[in-house]
């Protein structure tokens, strides 16, 4: 222990570390210089015409182009009569597999120019630009431009930083290990946690994405954040390029805080599928570490902490959500669930005198994490908290506990204010589609009882539905092993083996909560009846979409129950404890890992590199589209002028436009801009500094009223209201306060260690 406190120990003076730092520094400087060099342009002139009725299959319109390795933007001028009837792609049959990464971009009538990325990792000497057309309407292509960006070097810098951190981590580990500062148990724990993390991340270690139902939606979200940041919007509220450049309010309703990481990778130049995989791996890492921290402290055993972390991270429902449906938002929220129960454990499972000062912190971080990753999980979390508070009604109002809970609630609110204020603002003032789905019932998509007991899951083809039983069902359940442990807990409870004390009461509550949540996920739970009771209930229940969402929390509760069983038998009967660990390994391998394997090999695999490859129009269930807007009518558009209105120098920008306008008549006129009318758009006459009126135009577009006999330069842009900005500042302060509290806690523990020394 004395070595920990020895200040003379300094890894930075180690000669290998010095060499490592110097080499890394030199490479970094070189890459940095390369990355700030100006972009190069390669222009090619030519015309190709494909007449209506003539289908084109990989028609090479430009060929034998030679390009050096790099990340390019491909700009091709074109004219077409229809939307999405033709597309362009780039090929080179001579480069190595994975040497040229690109998809394609569709042609749109009112767009006129492609702009998509291409990654070339070796010199291409036979690059071809090919057009495909269905023959429905004529297509003509014009000049081609390749712009070599500096993103190859920014990608290299990112990889270098990652390798540097990894290298330093390994150096630190070896250095400390050599000095005997790392306990054997800690090394074992780290190894097992790494194995869990590795297995959970296996589906993301390929060069493709598994085609979950929500995959393209979340890839679009990542692209949206990237586009927003590149357009100078921060925080990103409306994704500017999503929905054919019309701007979509996904970010207002679905918080994208955590997507800043994959968006950053996109900005640095990585393909979107790679960024998505990196993000999912990061989610797995966070889940492994957070759940280990919570379970270890809850059961006061590193071994049980590791096992429970494995059970939670490799649980069937989590794999189903993250891998099979690609519900990365919900998957992210699962990372924070253990913190909430751990927080309640610190408050409710301890005697008054033992309650720690900072017991509110896990609840705050957990709630804030959930709210900022998946709002629907928040709805279920509210139910869970209500359930616990009702069962602990006698303890919740003890001042020491009550004020801590209050503090956690307020701190969460302040931390999330930057998201909550715009969310409520839009929800209350904008007539979005999500407000009109209360008639959708959910009971019929509930689970059968046998779903919960299933072990040998495969990907399946459909979610639970009436009549089919388990036939070819998606892996929706908590897994056999957790039910087995719940059964063991029930036997212990039934036979009176669990003593009545304050800590055990908490685990009994968790067990009961888990059972209730599992019942709520079944099709026997009267959701339809509850929905018919009150419009608010109808809206809340309808928004859940699937009762199986309760299994996220259900899984966590049952993992804690399993942890209790392990802890119980660790003290009472070591043989049973070991048998339980063997059973966990056996069932985790045959359930979670088998499922992961199946998912990888039986699902469709997508290699999507940018937004263009997905099209710009997919918005899942169109939940955040204005109700007055007909989704089918939306596509790329040009500004439409009313009678006697003329516009010049028109420039479409991200969430805005810039143009000179003339109204030669004596009456007011209008211009419909290709922007969806969400709250926040402003039209400004830049010369007179006056604001022009904006109303709803055709199909929910922004319509600017041009006064009679008007001539001037108009700038339209999206401006966050002041109170949104104020909320952001509040949140920033709250974040700083939260970090300070965590830091203070960490320092206090460190001081305690030093006192022990």
């Amino acid at each position: 222990m004395s070595r920990i406190c020895d200040k003379s120990d300094n890894i930075w003076k180690n000669k290998y570390v010095v060499i490592f730092n110097v080499v890394t520094g030199l490479i970094f400087i070189m890459l940095f210089i390369l990355s700030v060099l100006p972009a190069k342009k390669y222009d090619f002139n030519g015309n190709t015409f494909i007449a209506a009725g003539e289908a084109a299959d990989n028609l090479a319109i430009y060929g034998d182009i030679t390009l050096n390795p790099g990340v390019y933007r491909v700009l091709l001028d074109y004219e077409t009569e229809n939307d999405e009837e033709a597309y362009v792609t780039v090929k080179d049959g001579t480069v190595i597999t994975g040497g040229l990464l690109t998809n394609y971009e569709h042609f749109y009538k009112d767009n006129g120019r492609t702009d998509f990325e291409m990654w070339l990792f070796e010199k291409g000497e036979h690059i071809e630009v090919c057009v495909n057309s269905t023959g429905k309407g004529s297509v003509s292509t014009g000049n081609l431009t390749f712009i070599k960006t500096n993103r190859l070097y920014t990608m290299a810098i990112t990889i270098l930083v990652f390798l540097y951190l990894l290298g330093m981590g390994i150096f630190t580990f070896l250095y400390k290990d050599k000095k005997g500062l790392i306990a054997k148990e800690s090394k074992q724990v780290a190894l097992v946690l790494f194995v869990i993390f590795f297995f959970a991340s296996l589906p993301y270690l390929y060069g493709f994405n598994i085609s979950g139902a929500d995959l393209t939606y979340h890839l679009q979200r990542i692209e949206g954040v990237k586009d927003g940041i590149l357009a100078g919007l921060f925080p990103v509220r409306l994704e500017p390029k999503w929905l054919y450049d019309l701007g979509y309010a996904d970010a207002v309703f679905y918080c994208n805080l955590f997507l800043i990481f994959p968006a950053f990778l996109r900005i640095m130049g990585f393909p979107v599928s790679f960024s998505y995989n990196c993000y999912s791996i990061a989610v797995n890492l966070a889940t492994v570490l957070i759940s280990y921290f919570c379970f270890k402290n809850m059961f006061k055993s590193k071994r049980i902490g590791v096992i429970c972390s494995g059970l939670y991270t490799l649980s069937v429902f989590r794999i189903y959500k993250l891998v099979i449906t690609s519900a990365v938002g919900e998957g992210t929220s699962f990372t924070f669930l253990p913190l909430i129960l751990y927080g309640f454990y610190l408050l409710l499972a301890k005697e008054k005198e033992e309650i720690k000062k900072n017991a509110w912190i896990p609840i705050t971080i957990g709630l804030a994490g959930i709210l900022q990753s998946h709002v629907l999980t928040c709805e279920i979390t509210a139910f869970v908290i209500l359930f616990i508070c009702i069962l602990y009604i006698n303890r919740v109002f003890i001042p020491k506990i009550f004020f801590k809970l209050l503090k956690a609630a307020f701190m969460t609110l302040f931390v999330c204010l930057w998201f909550v204020v715009p969310f409520l603002d839009y929800y209350l003032t904008q007539d979005v589609h999500i407000k009109h789905v209360s008639a959708r019932t959910i009971q019929s998509s509930g689970l059968e009882l046998s779903h919960l007991l299933f072990n040998f899951w495969t990907s399946g083809t459909h979610t639970a539905s009436d009549g089919a039983g388990l036939y070819s069902s998606h892996p929706i359940g908590i897994g056999f092993v957790l039910v087995l442990f719940a059964f063991v807990f029930a036997i212990l409870l039934f036979t009176g083996k669990i003593k009545n004390n304050i800590e055990n009461r908490f685990f009994k509550t968790v067990f009961l909560l888990g059972i209730v949540l599992m019942i709520m996920s079944l099709n026997i739970f009267p959701w339809d009846m509850l929905q018919s009771l009150h419009p608010v209930l109808a809206s809340l229940i309808s928004s859940l979409q699937f009762p199986n969402r309760f299994l996220g929390w259900g899984t966590l509760c049952m993992v804690i129950v399993a942890g209790y069983d392990l802890s119980f038998f660790m003290k009472k009967n070591e043989k049973v404890h070991i048998a339980m660990i063997i059973a966990i390994c056996l069932f985790t391998v045959t359930s979670g890992l088998r499922l992961t394997d199946y998912a990888v090999y039986t699902s469709n695999q997508y290699e999507l590199y940018n937004a263009a490859s997905m099209g710009y129009g997919y918005i899942s269930g169109a939940e955040y589209l204005l109700e007055s807007t007909d989704y089918e009518e939306l596509t790329y558009m040009k500004a439409k002028c009313g009678e006697n209105i003329q516009i010049n120098d028109y420039k479409k920008k991200a969430l805005g436009a810039d143009f000179v306008c003339i109204n030669s008549s004596d009456e007011n006129g209008y211009i419909d801009l290709p922007l969806l009318l969400y709250k926040g758009y402003k039209a400004l006459d830049t010369d007179k500094k006056t604001e022009l009126m904006i109303i709803e135009g055709e199909n929910g577009l922004v319509r600017i009223i041009i006064p009679a006999n008007y001539e001037g330069h108009i700038k339209v842009s999206f401006v966050s209201p002041l109170y949104w900005r104020a909320a952001e500042i509040f949140s920033l302060i709250a974040y700083l306060a939260l970090f300070a509290s965590c830091f203070k806690k960490g320092r206090r523990e460190k001081c305690k260690n030093q006192e022990k020394c």
Binding site: S450, L453, N455, G469, F494, N523
Partner: protein, 366 residues
């Protein structure tokens, strides 16, 4: 009298009274609710479906009998069903009952689980032609029997659990017996796994001949009776095998292990689920007795020194023990795989009406 006995009597009295009352109510007279004539149907030319849109009827929870009288000409591929107007989940349990050219009259049951508006739906093999002359919907009193059956099951489980708990807490049940009970219960649930979903599987042979006819006629839906029957088969197989093995080997835990192995034997599960051969399922209840007799004969005639399972186990090497435990674990795992894959690969069928189950099943198969 032991404490558990007193508690049981205290519990049983009100329960028996409730069940008797419900049983008595189930003999109430039938009540004609509504009649539909041919003239009231609206024909849909495109799909050859007739709906009695104007004459909807409010069904309160209960069991209803539907009597249908047909015209002289009934085209092939025709069928009759009572459908709920609103799509409330599981409000009305009713199958499309196929009608054949020779049918002049059919009757079938429908179960209203919730209050709902319902109307007849007639599918005709001939476009723009409704083969139904008229039909009656009659409210029966079988609903009370259905409730009584459900309550009987609930009461039985509650009583058994209460008595068991008292016995355990009073140390009237040895630890060994508790383990045996828990393991047997787990094995039965495991073997019953495919039927924990809402509906039933009829297997490749779909034999119904051994189904408890009394329960069907008393008003329980077909799928519920099927489940009760399969559960009984598994329960009694487990009990008889346990009893016989214990009798032979005089060791509770060993008997339990053998009984679990017997219950989860893949061919046993294959017979019941994949083949749907209920008579084979019945056979498995009695087979352990044959084994017991044979074993006792062999023991009496050939084995001079009595076998002691406990001694064999104690004297085994740790490798053999590990091998046996591993084999047993693997065996259970295979059984889980078997029931899992069966449920995953087979589409469940939803059959409610007993009388027309053959017809409905044939319709589904078609």
């Amino acid at each position: 009298m032991q404490k558990s006995g007193k508690v049981l009597i205290a519990l049983l009295l009100p329960q028996v009274l409730i069940l008797l009352l419900l049983f008595a109510l189930s003999f109430k007279k039938e009540n004609l609710l509504i009649s539909f004539g041919d003239a009231e149907a609206t024909d849909n030319e495109e799909s050859a479906i007739s709906l009695f849109e104007e004459n909807e009827v409010l069904l309160t929870p209960g069991v209803y009998k539907v009597e249908v009288y047909f015209k002289d000409e009934v085209p092939n591929d025709s069928g009759v069903q009572i459908v709920a107007k609103d799509d409330i989940y599981h409000s009305l349990l009713s199958n499309m009952v196929p009608v054949f050219p020779q049918d002049k009259y059919i009757e079938f049951n429908v179960w209203a689980a919730k209050k709902c508006m319902a109307r007849p739906k007639v599918v005709s093999g001939k476009e723009n032609y409704n083969p139904v002359l008229y039909m009656n919907i009659i409210k029966t009193s079988k609903g009370f029997f259905v409730i009584a059956s459900i309550l009987f099951g609930v009461f039985f489980v509650i009583d058994a659990l209460i008595v068991l708990r008292i016995k355990i807490l009073n140390n009237e049940l040895s630890k060994k017996k508790q383990i045996v009970f828990a393991a047997m219960l787990s094995a039965i649930i495991l073997a019953f796994f495919p039927l924990l979903s809402g509906y039933c599987y009829l297997g490749s042979e779909g034999r119904f001949i051994f189904f408890p006819v009394f329960l069907l006629h008393a008003g329980l839906p077909f799928y519920a009776v099927y489940k009760i029957y399969v559960f009984m088969l598994l329960l009694f197989s487990a009990l008889t095998s346990y009893y016989c093995m214990r009798f032979c080997f005089k060791d509770e835990v060993f008997a339990m292990i053998l009984s679990v192995v017997y219950l989860l034997f893949p061919y046993h599960l294959y017979s019941i689920y994949d083949k749907g051969a209920m008579e084979e399922g019945l056979l498995y209840i009695f087979l352990p007795f044959v084994f017991m007799i044979v074993y006792l004969l062999i023991e009496k005639l050939f084995i001079k020194k009595k076998l002691s399972i406990k001694n064999i186990w104690v004297n085994s090497s740790k490798y053999l023990k590990a091998l046996l435990i591993g084999a047993l674990l693997l065996y259970v795992l295979i059984a889980i795989y078997k029931v899992n894959s069966f449920a995953f690969e087979h589409r469940a069928v939803y059959l409610y009406d007993a009388v027309n189950s053959f017809k409905v099943y044939a319709f589904f198969e078609k």
